[in-house]
């Protein structure tokens, strides 16, 4: 008896794959009508990251950078808060009161105006592309966690996880949404240059 069970056990042991799928989730922009002009953006509100075919990273068209330096620069850019943001829920445009940045007038106005544009070449390696994406998402999660720790004494990751487990808890959900609204993830993946 035990022999047969062992045999079956070994079969299932060998065939089992217990991989959990993980990844970076992203929502693609909807297809735009080509006749509609894209909205004009102030240059200071856009942080352009360009990755060329040699996998070099160029920021705002003038500074070469290592992947490891990227996160800090992005955080500085998003968290700058020099001016008024877009109106939230129909309220008057207001300053970013939760930002801790330098309020440099030459950098972004408000987290909900700050746009990160990721340009890449067709020949860029996927590994580098993901590394850059990872740093961009990482910058946002650092900021969200910081804000969440300050407001609710817990990290945003924890809040989001708990809210996922308990979808009926409205106050928790409101907290998560609030933080998401205060640091919205605006990453634009431009079409690569040919």
């Amino acid at each position: 008896m035990a022999d047969i069970a062992f045999l079956l056990l070994i079969f299932f042991l060998v065939t089992t794959t217990m991989d959990v799928d993980t990844g970076i989730s992203r929502k693609l922009p909807e297809k735009q009508d080509p006749n509609i002009e894209p909205p004009k953006l102030k240059e200071k509100n856009v942080f352009v990251v360009t990755v060329n075919r040699n996998n070099d990273i160029l920021v705002n068209g003038d500074t070469y950078m290592q992947v490891t330096e990227l996160r800090e620069r992005v955080i500085k850019f998003i968290d700058n808060g020099a001016g008024l943001g877009n109106s939230i829920d129909g309220a008057e445009p207001a300053e970013c009161t939760w930002c801790e940045g330098e309020k440099d007038p030459n950098s972004s106005d408000h987290p909900n105006k700050a746009i990160i544009s990721l340009e890449s070449d067709r020949g860029t390696s996927y590994g580098t592309y993901i590394a850059v994406q990872n740093e961009l998402v990482g910058a946002y999660s650092v900021l969200r966690n910081r804000l969440s720790n300050k407001l609710y004494g817990r990290s945003f990751d924890e809040l989001a996880k708990e809210s996922d487990k308990d979808p009926k808890n409205e106050s928790l959900k409101a907290k998560v949404e609030d933080i998401k609204k205060k640091y919205p993830q605006i990453i634009s993946e431009a079409e690569p240059f040919k």
Binding site: T16, E30, A131, G138
Partner: protein, 144 residues
């Protein structure tokens, strides 16, 4: 001193057997491409696997250029939309907006191929995507 009684051995083995039988997921598609996922630290778990469809990108054997694998065969970029339609067909209507496409691309594939796929997905309004990654240090992504 008497030896350890092995009378309960079958019970233990059966228990393990049932555990593995229940937790086993048989691999549905056979990979034809070489796949080494890139690393990332800011990863999220993909919930509800039944709503996720996979597009694989990588090299076949020693051939140059990236190939796209849908289900069990190598396909062209233009087939992606039919793949999405088929995927929608097989789910009830209320689940269609929740469908996610997971792009499992090799670490060495080029961004151009991925962009072509993303463009196709945008054309058919399959906007929820996920770049599949392994958890790990991003330094592993960079070529030495």
């Amino acid at each position: 001193m008497p030896g350890i009684s092995t009378a309960s051995l079958p019970d233990i083995v059966f228990m393990l057997l049932f555990f593995f039988m229940v937790s086993t997921v048989m691999r549905e598609t056979e990979l034809k491409i070489k796949l080494k996922l890139p690393f990332a630290t800011e990863v999220q778990k993909l919930e509800r696997k039944s709503l996720v469809s996979y597009i694989y990108v990588g090299k076949v054997g020693d051939q140059t250029g990236d190939k796209i694998q849908l289900n069990d065969r190598i396909a062209d970029v233009s087939d992606v939309k039919y793949f999405v339609f088929a995927e929608r067909e097989s789910h009830p209507e209320d689940e269609v907006p929740l469908l996610t496409t997971s792009i499992k691309a090799d670490i060495e594939s080029s961004v151009g191929t991925i962009t072509d796929i993303k463009e196709e997905l945008r054309n058919v309004d399959a906007l929820k995507i996920n770049y599949s990654t392994r958890k790990g240090d991003i330094q592993g992504n960079l070529k030495k």
